[in-house]
């Protein structure tokens, strides 16, 4: 990370900030538009885009000097997907639901 801080990352930080605010505005406006089943997909897609931007550029995962950081992030996401994916594959395939 130290080698990264030599060049000023301010432009990138403000760019990410503007993008995040724009995404918030879009997701807020899109929620009031009738998109049928795609409303949830749009809202969660934008949320995931925002979370990815924050993690990669504000939390410096993109420029992490330690590869273990990336490993921990991937492992955390993997186990979260196991939890959500396996639980929902059970509940979504029950006939009585």
């Amino acid at each position: 990370m130290s080698e990264h801080s030599k060049s000023s990352p301010l432009k990138m930080y403000f760019g990410i900030w503007i993008t995040l605010l724009l995404c918030t505005y879009i997701t807020y406006k899109a929620a009031f538009v009738e998109l049928g089943q795609y409303n949830a997909a749009v809202a969660l897609g934008i949320a995931t885009l925002k979370a990815t931007l924050v993690a990669l550029f504000f939390m410096h995962v993109w420029h992490a000097s330690e590869k273990l950081t990336k490993l921990v992030v991937i492992v955390a996401l993997f186990f979260l997907l196991l939890l959500l994916g396996l639980s929902m594959s059970d509940y979504a395939t029950r006939l009585w639901s």
Binding site: S2, T24, F32, A43, A51, T69, L80
Partner: protein, 236 residues
Amino acid sequence: MPDSTLVGLHHEEQHHPELLHHFAEPQQQRDAASLGMWVFLATEVMFFGGLFCAYLIYRRWYFGDFGAASKTLNATLGATNTAVLICSSLTVVLAVWAAKTARRTLLLVSLGITLLLGLAFLGIKGVEYKDKFVEHHVPGASFSFDKVPLPGHPGQYANPRHAQIFFSLYFIMTGLHALHMIIGLGLFLWLLIMAWKGRFTPEYNTPVEIGGLYWHFVDIIWIYLFPLLYLIDRHP
């Protein structure tokens, strides 16, 4: 890594006072602290993950009731709070950058604004909670959710028991998030005091960096809570 350990032993007498004796060099100490925070955040992902999983299951079961209950939340205040947290994330990265580049004024101002934005978030959250108490939407003996129309089903009303599950999840998830915000405010107040005393330098700024990681993580949780709790079934 073994190479740097050997090098570190030879330079032990001239190292930075903040460098603990079991680390070879400042970079190794910084990476270890950062990794420790990331492992903690991984456990937090599972902690909140269980609640998100509970939310998804009940959302599937009581789809319309959740939509009706969600519509009673103030989406404008929720969106405002999202913007407040995003702005605070910007001031946090500015603080980390200022600490790394020895910009004392920017560091103090950024940490100060972060604290103010965190307090603003909790204030807005408090207003929302107050509204829920006034409307008797807080789960418990005085909970009331009568004759609330079910979205997409004209003439039908939401089941109050199912709506109460939505509000239970709402209060647990936003309450736990608010608790993280309060802890974060404590951390950043401490960082502000340490920065005021001039403890952070380009060589040693790990507390600002890993405190920032925590703050951004709490921001990410809110980024998901906002659409899931406030924006489901908003459309007419």
